[in-house]
């Protein structure tokens, strides 16, 4: 006898995801037969608001596109503006930007450690990783003046130079984290519960992934090597030696393994940055922001965030304010197209784990 379908509402309070979003699932027994993503809880008209601000002012909005990892959005906007204007960025600033981006990547993955494991009932890891993330936030606080919203990368370079002795502090933190990652392996990747709950769950079909435009760790978890840092290098990524990890399988496990290796690569990048960072200017001063008009035209930039590729498109009509700014984040595909398809046939208890493995950010959908 066929069981009667029931509709469940998962969310909107952070349903295994950072940010408010809801998934309406139709279940038969505990198997999902249909999933629909419902967004709209975070709509703040970011893109429209950017049009109402001058070229500089909007950088306080940009970091709010994705709270756990605000810097790639700042960077992609700054670079788009620089591209439009033809503004040079000092080499030192480029290195500092990469340092910030990679620190943000690590901080964001540490948060993911907590979310991914907690979605399976493993709470200790989250306690640890959020504590370890705090060390990176301390670094951000010292460098940028803010812990979560840095508002640090802006057109022309970065706002402030590295404080005295900052490099050593970063290196110390990296040494500590590298050792610490082994502890996470013990609790997470070597843990039977984690393996059994993630292997073979939430499998993304390789061909569908390409068709739908899946990016970032979910795509690399399908065995496709794709990373903007390599494919279309920006800042100084082409001068740095690192590997883009790829895993086969397309399940939560594969995506987790990709992230596990990426943290180690980020640490490697940070060490190279600190070894090679040149002296000199960190900022090519922009003109008075009130009267700073950009030439007519448009520019598109893409950046590799933890969620995958993010893109910023800005249009100037020659004025002091952007005519249009459009942001394309990975979350749109991951949390709507991908998630709705991926959940079908899965178990209710795996919803949070699957959502978390896609690493999405609802404010990015509702920009």
């Amino acid at each position: 006898m066929r069981e009667k379908a029931t509709t469940l509402y998962i969310g909107p309070q952070h349903p295994g995801i950072t940010g408010n979003m809801m998934v309406r699932v139709k279940v038969e027994g505990d198997t999902i037969v249909k999933a629909t993503t419902e967004v709209g809880y975070l709509h703040r008209s970011f893109e429209k608001l950017i049009e109402k601000r001058n070229w500089l002012q909007s950088f306080t909005l940009l970091c709010r596109f994705c709270v756990p990892e605000p810097d790639p959005v700042e960077e992609s906007y700054a670079r788009a503006v620089e591209l439009l204007e033809g503004r040079e960025v000092p080499e030192r600033a480029k290195y500092i930007r990469v340092l910030v981006l990679e620190l943000a990547r690590i901080a964001s993955y540490l948060l993911w450690y907590g979310g991914q494991s907690a979605s399976l009932g493993l709470y200790t890891i989250g306690q640890w990783s959020v504590g370890d993330r705090n060390y990176i936030l301390d670094l951000f606080e010292e460098l940028t003046g803010g812990r979560v919203y840095h508002m640090y990368i802006w057109p022309g370079g970065v706002r402030r130079d590295l404080p005295k002795g900052f490099e050593n502090k970063v290196l110390k933190t990296m040494d500590y984290l590298e050792k610490r990652l082994d502890d996470y392996d013990d609790l997470m990747f070597d843990n039977t519960i984690f393996r059994k709950r993630t292997q073979g769950v939430g499998i993304i079909d390789k061909e569908k992934a390409v068709e739908w435009g899946v990016v970032g760790p979910p795509l690399r978890g399908c065995g496709i090597r794709s990373d903007i840092r390599i494919d279309d290098p920006y800042e100084v990524y082409n001068k740095l030696d690192f590997v883009v990890p790829v895993e086969e399988g397309g399940d939560i496990w594969a995506r987790a393994l990709v992230r596990r290796q990426e943290i180690r690569q980020s640490i490697r990048i940070i060490r190279q940055v600190l070894d090679n960072i040149p002296a000199g200017k960190y900022y090519n001063k922009i003109p008075n922001p009130q009267k700073w008009a950009l030439p007519k035209g448009d520019a598109y930039t893409r950046t590799e965030a933890v969620r995958g590729e993010v893109g910023m498109y800005v249009v100037s009509d020659g004025g002091t304010h952007p005519r249009r700014a459009h942001f394309r984040g990975a979350a749109y595909v991951h949390a709507i197209t991908l998630l709705e398809n991926l959940l079908v046939g899965e178990n209710i208890s795996d919803i949070a784990a699957i959502m978390n493995s896609l690493g999405t950010c609802p404010p990015e959908i509702e920009r």
Binding site: N134, Y135, E141, G145, P163, D186, N191, K285, P289
Partner: protein, 597 residues
């Protein structure tokens, strides 16, 4: 299903962390964590440094900052008297306000905890409500990090020694690119508007220039200044003295920007086309104006626009007053003046040249013929030093000397000229003498920094090889056998502090007498008015104090239908104050005749 022993035991290794110190060592919020050295916390404002320009409020995209009056802080020139108040419930701690603060008074502190159930208490006036913040400053802007453009676009000029070869204009003017770049430095705070005697709409026209709309800029300028090219070249620019950017950098070149934009309209017809004035139908009132200087021309222009029939009586052959006959042509070329006068005539102002009131026409006649009369005759009569030998041949008054030269005449000054004085007239006379090939020395009784002349003029004079001897008080002119001046004797002076708190006074040093040779001496210690044209029946009734007409705020004298302005009524002795007087007199005359009060 096989049992995974390793995978079951491994997580238990977490127990090795047991007993380790936790990450958060302090109890937040009862013992707050100390923030880092660059933390962006609550605001602090140095109230003495702050000038209330409001740039912080303008840049804040959260509308978290408004400008409010603060007890004990009065508005003055260059200070609005307002201070920023921050709504810490709206602030997002981006620190943009700090980055754009031109004085650097605004900063952020390490403080970040505030708890209250009253939302109103989140509105703070930094510096007033948290004076202790001064010790906790962590995020501030330096000249390097500030988003203000502190460096002025240099003005192209003739080289010092090339200048003295001719009367060619020294300042070459900005080109379009330079003007746009300079205009883009402006933060539109409007402190300049307050300081300008004429309250010109400076931020507005600078904005138009920055946007690339010069015609708009010209229209905005003509709103309340009919002689903008004159001001663009010779204004004393009190606006620049109070420019917010000047606190840590060079003030915006407001005068040069006005010059640039007015020079884009090449002739009187073009001015008329661009300004496209709205000239009202004649209202039947007739106004007589004595003197075609800046104040008289202003009165005539704006009254003519309002439909008044305006007639100017000018003693000389050309209009402009001191700007025509006093200011040398390398500063203010004649064609530049002519074009502005021609435009004023084009809108219907009549000028009777070579008509000296009191000689060619009596004041009484003018007074009876017109519904209102405006006197803008300036200060044509020079002060004399009152020392021995001042009446010798070769001892010339600088204003007379400049008049002759500007009139195309020649004056024999020889090759060694002494100029006495420290104002703009003294510098003008010195620089003109240098152009006539003389070796020039200026004697001034105070220090160079006390000279009332424009600092750019002083620098220009020095570049042209003019010597300045400060703290020198002339005591005697010596004649040669023919009764021509041969030498000047002066005493060195010590600067003695004024007990009443005024500026230091020069006191001659006994026995410091020095004699220098001279082929001519040009006296430039000031001028005074000459109101001999007023018949007794008027001079008795009209109140004149210390050589100036006593007027109310609408420039109305003690005689109802008589108005006065310019040097004859104000102490500023500059073009823009004269224009401001004229503009106020327009209101006064209109009120008197049309509105009847």
């Amino acid at each position: 299903m096989s049992f995974d022993l390793k995978g079951t035991l491994k997580p238990l290794t977490a127990l090795k962390q047991f007993g380790k110190k936790p990450h958060t060592l302090v109890d937040v919020p009862s013992i707050p964590l100390e923030a880092s050295d660059h933390y962006r916390g609550f605001h602090y404002n140095d109230l003495d440094e702050c000038i209330g320009c409001g740039n912080c409020s303008t840049i804040c995209q959260n509308q978290a900052i408004d400008m409010v009056p603060v007890d004990g802080i009065e508005g003055k020139k260059g200070d609005s008297g307002l201070r920023p108040r921050v709504d810490h419930g709206r602030c997002c701690w981006c620190g943009l306000c700090v980055e754009v603060c031109p004085t650097g008074s605004l900063s952020l502190t390490k403080d970040y905890l505030y708890v209250s159930d009253d939302p109103d208490t989140f509105l703070w006036t930094p510096g007033v409500d948290n004076p202790e913040g001064k010790e906790r400053i962590s995020f501030f802007s330096t000249e390097e990090t500030s988003l203000n453009d502190f460096g002025r676009i240099p003005m192209p000029e003739l080289e010092g020694m090339d200048r003295v070869k001719s009367f060619a204009e020294v300042v070459l003017g900005y080109n379009e690119v330079q003007a746009r770049a300079e205009a883009s430095r402006c933060i539109s705070c409007g402190l300049c508007t307050e300081a300008c005697p004429e309250h010109m709409h400076i931020p507005e026209y600078i904005n138009a220039i920055a946007r690339g709309n010069d015609a708009d800029a010209v229209r905005i300028i003509y709103d309340n200044n009919p002689l903008p090219e004159m001001c663009g070249k010779v204004c004393t620019r009190r606006c620049e003295d109070v420019c917010a950017i000047a606190h840590r950098g060079d003030p915006i070149a407001i005068r040069w920007l006005k010059r640039y934009t007015t020079e884009t309209v090449k002739n009187a017809d073009m001015i008329k086309e661009v300004v496209n004035p709205d000239i009202q139908e004649p209202n039947g009132y007739k106004v007589g104006i004595i003197g075609a200087g800046p104040s008289g021309l202003t009165v005539a222009y704006y009254l003519a626009l309002k439909g008044f029939d305006c007639t100017i009586y000018e003693a000389h052959a050309k209009a402009g007053g001191m700007t025509m006959y006093g200011i040398p042509k390398y500063r203010f070329p004649e064609e530049s003046l002519d074009k502005q006068i021609e435009y004023i005539q084009k809108i219907g102002v009549k000028i009777h040249f070579n008509t000296k009131v009191g000689k060619d026409i009596s004041f009484k006649e003018i007074y009876s013929k017109y519904d209102a009369v405006f006197i803008g005759v300036g200060f044509p009569k020079p002060w004399t030093l009152g020392i021995e030998g001042e009446d010798l041949k070769g001892s010339i008054q600088a204003v007379n000397f400049l008049y002759e030269i500007n009139n195309g005449k020649t004056v024999d000054i020889g090759d060694k000229v002494i100029v006495i004085g420290g104002g703009n007239v003294a510098i003008d006379a010195a620089r003109v003498s240098a152009r006539l090939g003389a070796d020039v020395t200026i004697l001034y009784r105070r220090r160079v920094q006390d000279m009332p002349a424009d600092w750019e003029e002083i620098e220009g004079a020095e570049d042209e090889g003019i010597h300045i001897i400060p703290q020198a008080i002339p005591v005697k002119f010596y004649p040669d056998k023919k009764g021509h001046v041969k030498a000047v004797e002066y005493l060195k002076a010590d600067m003695v502090a004024d007990e009443k708190g005024g500026r230091p006074k020069p006191v001659p040093v006994e026995g410091s007498n020095t004699i220098i040779e001279a082929t001519a001496v040009l006296g430039a210690i000031g001028q005074q008015g000459d109101y001999s044209f007023l018949e007794e029946e008027f001079s008795e009734k009209v109140k004149i104090e210390r050589g100036r007409f006593v007027v109310n705020e609408k420039q109305q004298s003690t005689l109802d239908k008589l108005f006065a302005g310019g040097d004859a009524a104000n102490r500023s002795a500059d073009v823009i104050s004269a224009i401001a007087d004229g503009y106020m007199a327009v209101k006064g005359i209109e009120d008197l005749l049309v509105k009847g009060n």
